[in-house]
Structures are given as C-alpha cells and as structure tokens.
Amino acid sequence: MTAPGAGAEPTAAPPALSVGLAVGLGGLAAAFLAAGTPLAGAVALVGVALLGASLSAGSVRLCATAGATLAGAVVAAAATAAPPAPIVGGAVLGVAAWDVADHGLGLAAHVGRETTTRRNELVHAAVSLAVGGAAGAVAFGGFLAAGGGQPATALVLLLFGGVALLAALRG
C-alpha cells in the first residue's frame, strides 16, 4: 500500500542549456590556458571534468572544487611563465564557466529540470561574460598601454593596490 499523491515533484537536475554552456565555456578556458602552457591546459581540463561531474551529480560542493581547480590552472600558468593574454582569457572564461554551472545547480534546486528556464540562463550567462570580459579588457588594455615590462617595485605596488582593492570588495 502506498500513499497517493507523490510523484509530481520536478527532477532536481540542472537544465541542459546550463550544462552545455558551462562545459563549453570551461573547454574554451582550457584551450586558452593550454595555448599558454600545456601544464595549465592539463589542470584546466581536470577542472572542466570536475565541473561536468558536479553538474551530473548535482553537487554544489564538487562545483566549488572544480572552480578551485580552474583557479589552480591559472596559478599553474603563472608558475610556468605563460604569456599574459592566454591567462587573462582563461581566467575570464573559467570564472564564467563556474558561474554558469553554479547558477544551473541553483536553478535545479529551485525549479528543476523540466521548467522553461532558457531566458533566465542566457541572461545570467551574458551578464557573467560581460562583467568578466569588461574587467579583462580594462586590465589587459591598461597593461598594454603601460607598455609591459614593469620594474619589480611597480609590481609590488600593484600588488598592494590589488590586495587593498580585493580586501575592500570582499565584504
């Protein structure tokens, strides 16, 4: 004997569009970083694989791990002396990939897979890419305008400025 009335609950899985977008953006990020150095590309690929796994398992924690792995890929690129352009591109796409994946998991928890969520997902992905792209373009443009090749003191001052800015924005 069973209690009737159950079974109308939506499936708590991320929508297919978010899964596709996240893995696609992640793959692009991996391609950018691989263009920097092979090691960074390899770490980024691990991150994308984790991202895919988190989406199929519906796990926010695994998604955070994937994001951390993508950040690790950027660190690996810096440590292996990759040129700036691929690192910036990889960072923008990597953050956007994680954001889209995490957003998809949030949608899964709230409305489930069967719901029409196209517009919501596309707007979120567009906003995310726009913010990342603008920040990357400003930073990279500034870097090019300054002509590259900064002395060490300038870099340290930049570091202090960056730390102060991040500390202000973290709250």
């Binding site: 004997m1 009737p4 950027v74 953050v95 995490d102 913010v131 990357g136 870097f143 870099l155």
Partner: protein
C-alpha cells in the same frame, strides 16, 4: 534578503593568484586577479533585487468533474526595475496533482515585461484555493536573493455527481416512522409476516376470511412493517486510511467518500434520515436529518469539509480514538445505525465498530480493499486485513468487502447475499 555566498571563495583565490603572480613575476596572473576584482566590484555595486510583481492566475475551468485535466495559466508582470534572475514556484493547493508541466518557471524580466507559464492539474473532489506564488529574485550575479510570496487568487471547485443506484440493505434498527426498511414488527405493510388471533377493532380487510370459512374462527393477518431508519455514515479518514493499491490509484478515503455520497443519495430518496461523520483528527459531524436542504448540506459536507479532504491530515495532530468515540456516542441518536467506511488497515475501526455494535447501534462496515495482490507485502497486509474483517463478522458486524475493480453496487449485492435479515 539573504546572501547566497556564491562568490565567497573568489576573493581568496584572487589573492593567491596575485601572490603567485608576484612570486613568478607573471603579469598575466595579476591581470587574472584584476578580472576577479571586476566580478567582486560588480557584486558589491549591484542593486539589491526588489521584486514588485503583478500576478494573475487563470484556471481554465473552475467547476470541473473529478479527474478532469485543467490548465492553469499564470502571468507575472514586472512592475519594478529589471529583474535579472527570477524564479517562480506556484503554490498548488494540496489536493490537486500537477500532471503536466511543473508549476514553476525561471526567467528574467525587464521593467514592464510579463512572463507566462502554464501547467495542468487533475481535478479532485473538494474546494481548492490558490493563495500565493513563491518568488525568489536574485541580483545580476546572484550574490543576494530575496524570497517572497506574492498574493494571487484562484479557485477550483470540484463536486462529484454522487448519483448511483447503489443500495445496501440496512439493518433492522429503525425509527418509529414509516419508511422502506423491513422490520420484525407485525402491522401494516406489504409482505406477509404472521397470523394471530382476531382482536376487537382489527380492520376488516386484514381478517383472514379463508381461514374463517374453513374453521369458523376469526384470525388477523400481520404484515411486516416497513419503517424509516436513521443512518450515520462514518468515513475513516485518519492518516492511516489514506492508502491505495498503487501510487496512481484512488485512496481508500476517496473511494469511501464516493460510496458514502452515493449511499446517502439513495437512502435520502427512500426517506431515511442520514448523517455523516469523519473518523479523523479533523472532526466533521452532520446530524442525521432528511429533506432536500439536508441532501444539499450533506453533499456540501462530503465535498468540502476538511474532515473528508482528499489529502491526509497533518500526522502530528493528536488523535485519541477513545475521546473521539466518546464524543461520537454522545452525538449519535439512540436509534441510529452506523455505516462505517474503512479500509481496516489497523485495529482502530475494528474496535470502534465492535463497541458501537455492543451498545446496540447496528453497524455495517463497507471496506474498500487497498492491498495490492501482486506483491508479497501487499498479500501479507491483505491477510491481516481479512483477519480483522473476520473478527468483525464474528462480533456480529456486517461487512461488505469492496475490491478496487468492482463497482460498489456489485460488492453490496455480493455481501448482502450472505447477510441474514
């Protein structure tokens, strides 16, 4: 307004990347950290979502028959600033099952724009009312969210027809009023009952003239008196009784209420006085009465009273069957018989029926069978149930077993063949 903590780790990650960038003198890493700073800056600067929505809900048919599939259209108009991330969860009334399209939607709305979503519910007996739409709005980067409920009405009222030719023989406990229940009382009526000695004043038409011609003695024919009964229909609607053979099948309570409605219709047509009660923590009681107004009131009670609702009561609500029995006995008229509708999945209805029968209220149990015969667990539950029914029969209670496959009329006929009058 709550923080979603989505971006919690980004600042830390950016600081690590900056550190590594300085360590390895990599300009790219510092620039990557600047990208993260851009996200954090937008997150800090983004306006908090303040959804101001106008919600309209249209129910395609507000008075459907049970089992009809009804489309519900919800239109949400944004009357405030742009909402980048809007998740809508419609509060479908408990008694209705969504059969097509989840009652949820996610979208982004510019100021003045509207979104529409549609879903289908299956109508179930009762008066169902929509009250609100749950709204979760997030900012552009999803850093903060606000969850609210927007009021939006909607109503669906589903009244089953309850017109059956289903009849179940009543037991011989009757009122002094004329009706259709044959009794063991001699008097005026249609059916032969006995012959007794003539007494002064007996009507001439009832004298047995054949016997008078044969023997020269006067004798009077007695006919079986037919009287009206007072019947209280009791539906077992405790949480335990909300059981069905399969997840999609009707629950025992649903079948019980349907049967009670059909029988009430027939009994009222025959002039009996009919009342109704729910054996449930959500007490429902309608005193026995007769007439057109009462028929309408009884139907209304069966359809809309929360005691007979198609969804189980809150399992945390206390239900003490002793207290319920005592209260019920106080209300029950002395000459009332009881028709108890119960799947008999535990002992409570058995005890109830036995006690009432012992107190002189004739009890008939109609038991919709909720056990699936194709699984070992179901067979075991069925075995336990048939033992309980056997115990009831041994105690002198009439029992009509009612399987999901047969109509109530067939079950009643089958059971009535075994009943003595």
């Amino acid at each position: 307004m709550t923080a979603t903590n989505r971006w919690a780790g980004l600042g830390a990650a950016a600081l690590i990347v900056v550190g590594v960038g300085v360590l390895f003198r990599s300009a790219g890493a510092v620039l990557a950290a600047a990208v993260a700073a851009g996200y954090l800056a937008v997150r800090a600067a983004a306006a908090r979502p303040r959804p101001s929505l106008d919600v309209e809900r249209v129910v395609a048919d507000e008075a459907p028959d049970p089992g009809d599939e009804i489309r519900v259209t919800v239109t949400v108009r944004n009357e405030g600033p742009t909402l980048f991330d809007l998740r809508l969860i419609d509060g479908v009334p408990d008694g209705l099952a969504v059969v097509d399209g989840p009652a949820r939607h996610a979208t982004a709305l510019r100021s003045g724009d509207a979104a529409t979503f549609v879903y289908t519910v299956r109508a179930a007996r009762g008066d169902h009312e929509w009250t609100g739409l749950e709204v979760v709005a997030r900012g552009p980067l999803g850093a903060r969210e606000r969850a609210t409920t927007v009021a939006a009405g909607g109503r669906l009222r589903c009244v089953p027809a309850f017109d059956g030719a289903t009849d179940l023989p009543l037991r011989g406990l009757t009122t002094p009023f004329a009706g259709r229940v044959p009794t063991d009382v001699g008097g005026t009526g249609l059916e032969f009952y006995a012959v007794r000695e003539y007494r002064r004043g007996d009507p001439r038409g009832r004298v047995d003239w054949n016997r008078a011609a044969r023997t020269g003695e006067l004798a009077t024919l007695e006919l079986r008196e037919e009287r009206a009964a007072t019947v209280v229909l009791v539906v077992d609607a405790r949480p335990a009784a909300y059981v069905a053979p399969s997840p999609t099948a009707e629950s025992a309570v649903e079948r019980s209420v349907d049967a009670a409605g059909q029988l009430a219709d027939v009994l009222l047509s025959k002039g009996d006085r009919v009342g109704a009660a729910a054996l449930s923590p959500r007490t429902a009681w309608l005193a026995p009465d007769t007439g057109h107004t009462h028929r309408a009131r009884l139907r209304e009670t069966l359809v809309t009273d929360p005691g007979f609702a198609p969804t189980p009561p809150d399992p945390d609500r206390r239900f003490v069957s002793r207290l319920w029995r005592r209260q019920f006995r106080r209300r029950l008229p002395a000459d009332a018989q009881v028709l108890l509708f119960s799947p008999c999945v535990d002992r409570t209805p058995v005890t109830f029926a036995e006690r009432l029968d012992a107190l002189g209220h004739a009890v008939t149990v109609v038991s919709p069978d909720p056990t699936p015969p194709d699984r070992p667990g179901g067979r075991l539950a069925g075995l336990e149930r048939s033992l309980r029914l056997a115990e009831l029969r041994a105690a002198g209670v009439r029992v009509a077993e009612w399987t999901p496959a047969e109509p109530l009329a067939a079950a009643g006929d089958r059971a009535a063949r075994r009943w003595s009058r």
